[in-house]
């Protein structure tokens, strides 16, 4: 028995692929999940929220100020400056357009007359329903801010109710209430700002502005997310045929014909791209047939994103295969790299759940750009022209990866 253990140990020690899968991958994966869900406070994700104050009352200003003071939010009241020129504040319409464009997952619109009709008018929450966390969180924070940042408005609202429905206060009561409201205002501006209050809660009217007509809200996201991950695996597997051919001597024979290494790799890349695209077509057709994904009205965007994604993924597979010397090496390396890319790039869980730093790191992966593009097509119903950043990045990434693969493949070209 000891002899068997010893033989297995020696074999494992010399199999770098198996070693990395056994020891490195679990540690890397654990670390990624720990960073995302482990609650490291310094990297907790902050939610982008657009605020359109159409009321410009003291109450609305308090509400906006309160939201801006929340550490978990990044509040934007106006778009980022264009060429150094400050942009006008968001309106209800521009805020809705910004949410639709994916600038932020949620917008808070404080309507005109909100301050004058506290309790009678609702704050409007415009949300992108693909990000379920953000809208829930903003809803809760609005209630908190209403209580902590605008107590005198709340008290005034209570007094008005009294005046309206209970016959009003006596002059002495009114005087004491006014005095109390003044003190409340003083207190709020002082150090005891976080004091507990028992005032009422503002009404929120929320509306999905993205995905409101979707039959199956997250289907397109997962079709793209899971699809890209498996595309990466398929592409590296298909590119591995190159290693088989090198091992069997077929590659030598091919290269002794009229086929050059560049022509050979380009042919393989074309095949890998078509294979990956076919896989995407199958996946989205399945989502259409079984999960009611609105496929055919987005066909143009799908073809553009599908081909660009397939090209980048195909080139990625070529690079992996040309880097390795054996199928076993390729299997280990591709598993390691693809699982890490997929977890960081948003194929396993949406990137908006991740800490900011990891969201940015995700942009180094093909997954993130592909998923963003497909989300634009299927979720935001954006026109094909809006896909240019994703298309440009995926094509550039694919071209660079292929160029590197070509350079690395020189090892097979001549001895």
């Amino acid at each position: 028995m000891l002899a068997i253990v010893r033989t297995a140990l020696v074999s494992l020690r010399r199999d770098r692929g198996a070693l990395s899968l056994s020891f490195i991958l679990p540690v890397v994966f654990f670390s990624i999940f720990a960073v995302i869900f482990g609650g490291r406070r310094d990297t907790t994700p902050r939610i982008n929220v657009i605020v359109a104050d159409e009321d410009h009352s003291r109450a609305s200003a308090d509400l906006v100020k309160g939201l801006a003071g929340e550490g978990s939010l990044v509040v934007r009241v106006r778009p980022t400056p264009k060429q150094g020129v400050q942009q006008p504040e968001y309106t209800a319409a521009s805020a809705e357009a910004a949410v639709k464009a994916g600038t932020a997952p949620v917008a808070v619109v404080v309507p005109k007359g909100f301050g004058a009709n506290l309790g009678a008018m609702s704050v409007v929450l415009l949300k992108d329903s693909s990000d379920m966390v953000a809208s829930q969180m903003i809803g809760g924070l609005l209630q908190k801010v209403a209580m902590t940042s605008m107590p005198e408005a709340m008290a005034e609202m209570g007094a008005r109710y009294m005046d309206r429905f209970a016959g009003g206060f006596t002059p002495a009561q009114r005087s004491r209430i006014d005095e109390g409201l003044y003190l409340l205002g003083q207190q709020r501006n002082g150090p005891a700002r976080q004091a507990q209050t028992d005032f009422g809660i503002i009404s929120i009217q929320s509306r999905d502005v993205v995905g409101e007509n979707k039959n199956a809200p997250m289907i397109s996201f997962y079709a793209a997310a899971i699809g890209v991950m498996f595309l990466l695996f398929t592409a590296s597997g298909a590119a591995g045929a190159l290693l088989d051919e090198a091992e069997s001597g077929t590659l030598d024979r091919v290269l002794s014909s009229h086929v050059t290494m560049t022509r050979l790799l380009a042919g393989k890349l074309a095949f890998n791209t078509l294979l990956a695209f076919s896989q995407l077509v199958l996946m989205f057709l399945w989502a259409w047939a079984v999960f009611q994904l609105d496929f055919f009205s987005h066909i143009r965007g799908f073809v553009v994103m599908g081909l660009c994604t397939a090209f980048a993924v195909g080139a990625f597979g070529m690079l992996l295969a040309s880097t390795c010397h054996t199928r076993a090496q390729l299997g280990a390396l591709s598993t390691l790299v693809i699982l890490i890319m997929s977890s960081v790039g948003g194929s396993m869980f949406p990137r908006f759940l991740m800490p900011e730093a990891m969201q940015k790191a995700g942009l180094l992966t093909i997954n993130a750009w592909a998923i963003d593009g497909f989300t634009k097509v299927f979720w935001r119903d954006e026109p094909v022209t809006h896909l240019w950043p994703q298309v440009a990045v995926l094509l550039a990434v694919g071209s660079v990866l292929f160029a590197i693969a070509r350079k690395v493949a020189r090892k097979w070209e001549y001895s």
């Binding site: 069997s248 001597g249 030598d252 024979r253 091919v254 002794s256 009229h258 001895s415």
Partner: protein, 308 residues
Amino acid sequence: MLSPPPLRIEVLVKHFSLVKAIDGVTLDLAPGECLGLLGPNGAGKSTLIRSIVGRVLPDAGSIAIFGSPADSQGARNALGWVPQELALYPRLTCRENLESFGRYHDLPAGALREAVAWGLDWASLADRAGDLVRNLSGGMKRRLNMAAGMIHRPKLVLMDEPTVGVDPQSRNRIFEMIEKLRGEGMAIIYTTHYMEEAERLCDRIAIIDHGHIIAQGTREELVQRTFGSRSEVLARFAAARESVEAWVTARNGRMTDGVAQVSIDHPTEIAVLLDGAADAGLELVDVSLRRPNLESVFLQLTGRELRD
């Protein structure tokens, strides 16, 4: 104007790190000639073959195939290569394999159809054209491997041990295929570990060792040059091995599988030799007189058996 020879190699040198795999090889091949390239393992045969095919870039020297440099388009058109490995696509049929390699040589549709039909016929695989390669026998795969290397109908072909691992019957079929090519005037370079193949198929033999061509010529020339008019006496004795070995060593001979081999300058010297053995107390069991063959030449020149 004289047309250039099928192959001309001049002072070829190739290093791999500190190892000199090819060390100044010069070689010519005449039209229609079959040259046997023999050498022990590690002698530089494969490097030389791969240099001719253009898969190894030499450090010095030149290779011309019908006047075109190795790895040029002209050389690729004129040169066929049958590698030792079964360089085929196992999940494709025989026909699909030949079609693929034909397309890699940019054969137009009509020529491709003809070439595939010729290849299947030449390899006697026409009735297996639709079979997947992985389902073929070892001998069939070898024949298809040869056909794939000939699909563009080259004028010079390199065959690197095409009969490795096949049964005698398949080997005979392969010999027939090669003899057919020879009949068509094809120039061939043939490497093998089987001396009888070289003797049967090749007009001329080149022996390579440590990266040098140490001898080349026809079988008779090599034997004559190496042994002159000497013959070999092969004798078995009913005596202690040590005393036989001592007797053989004293006459510059050697022991192979219990058989004493001693060279004599003239066949008439055999009687004197056997008298000497009797005087040494060695009882003769049987004896034969043999003219040296390629095996003897190879052994004499390299100090190793061909299959070592």
